[in-house]
Amino acid sequence: MVHNAPECDNAEMYALGGLSEEESKAFERHLAGCEACALQVAELKAIVDLLPLSVEPVQTPAGMQDRILGHILGDSAVSNTSNQDADAASDVTAKLTPADSAADAFRESTRASDLPPMNEPGPRLQADVGQTRKSQSEPELGREPQPRQPLPAEWPKAKPRRWSVWVSAALAAAVIVLGIYVFSLRDQLSDLRGQLTATTEPPQGLRPNEAVNLSAAAKDIVANGLATIVIDSKGTHLLVQAEKLPQLKGNEAFQVWLMKDGSGVVNAGTFVSRDGKGGLYLTLDRNLSGYNQIAITQEPDAFGQLPRGTAVLSAEISL
């Protein structure tokens, strides 16, 4: 194929990953016959491969390694250390802070709803993704669905006819089991809808246990805010809003803390501001009786478990 064909113009865009799926496939067909383009793409890919290094380092979430390795090795029938890793992961879970608990609850709810989880290669991450995505011939790893249970070494061979009867019976049973399962799911869905309705009903005559103005923690800070706390049977609900916040840089984030006589500190979540405004809503399912101060700090990132940055806003409260 002659170099300088119209397709040759796509080399840079292909290497960068900006072609649609169809365009990518077309370009790959062209690549197979255009040595000059193949060479050019190889050179460009070497440059593109450097772009991830331009990313600034960020702190990894606490316990991520245990969670990920515990999950992977725990799912593997081959691993002989999976139990240890899984135990390590559960230890971490037991020590989670409120913010992490929320993250964990999210994962649990994802599993409970039987959505295809991200950790099962296939549907969730690939199937529904925009059809316009490229699929370059870059190394694809584990793209095909991989069931958790190991597949049999061979598919059953359809030889003796009587087996087909058993297979039919088994299939029929499976259909029934699935039917029951689906019914059960519908039942759960109905319950969830009921609960959702209950929780989304507008509160009547809601009376905050605490509503305090947050004042600047230092002279040169012009920020102000409001913290509203409601305690009911579901826990302690905290609503924090702030404005005129200092400009964040890099990975910085604002973090809310509840404190008890300067000793006990509870991480009440992080948020980033937009145009100097920001806030968060959080439900803490633990007894916070005795906590007497709320503060917002400017932190180097959103993952701290203890205050590391500078205080921006604070107020006395009485829980």
Partner: protein
């Protein structure tokens, strides 16, 4: 260090389902992979899911790696980008904040994170950042939208309301400039391993 700890050696052990090898590989790449995933999805929980998906695929399908196609680190980053962008599209959490801040390419590295193990990567990283900073704003914007936000050239054209030909030419010029500045590093590649 013995050859036992090289990427290739670890990969071979992972193929043999050695959990310790996966752990070593994870420890080697956790931070750069997480930072890259976080850079794309801008969400800590989603970034963790991306990292998990990557290592799950590595554990289950390490045989897909072909050393003839390039370094393991490049391969891992490429797959990470695919997973992250797919996840981003799936979750549909795109906001203007996530895709229009071309200046994000210019952010300075966190000096506290410059640990010995990643010092080399950070030196190279600074060279790459410097090369990116040398691009003009328009070029930086298309690079950001396509590479880090996962938009196709048509989507960038529509989003920025510029002709497709302009998107192409900006990418072409940007890539040419980066190639001029980074060619030597690109040839050498980068290894996080021993």
């Amino acid at each position: 260090m013995s050859d036992n700890g090289t990427d290739a050696a670890l990969l071979a052990r992972i193929l043999g389902k050695d959990p310790e090898a996966l752990k070593l590989m994870y420890e080697r790449y956790e931070r750069p992979i997480y930072a890259f995933a976080y850079r794309i999805v801008k969400d800590a929980m989603l970034a963790e899911e991306v990292v998990q998906e990557l290592f799950l695929r590595l554990w289950n399908s390490a045989e897909r790696y072909d050393s003839g196609q390039g370094m393991l680190s490049s391969w891992l980053f490429t797959i990470t980008r695919n997973i992250a962008i797919d996840a981003l599209r799936l979750r549909q959490t795109r906001t203007s904040q996530q895709v229009t801040e071309a200046e994000q390419l210019n952010r300075e590295p966190d000096p506290e994170s410059d640990t010995a193990g990643l010092a080399t990567a950070n030196v190279v990283g600074e060279q790459v950042r410097s090369a990116i900073r040398s691009l003009n704003e328009d070029q930086q914007e298309v690079m950001e939208l396509i590479y880090f936000a996962g938009y196709t050239q048509q989507e960038v054209s529509a989003k920025c309301d510029i002709p497709l030909g302009t998107v192409k030419s900006r990418v072409r010029l940007a890539m040419k400039a980066l190639k001029t500045q980074l060619e030597d590093i690109g040839k050498e590649g980068l290894s996080y391993g021993p």
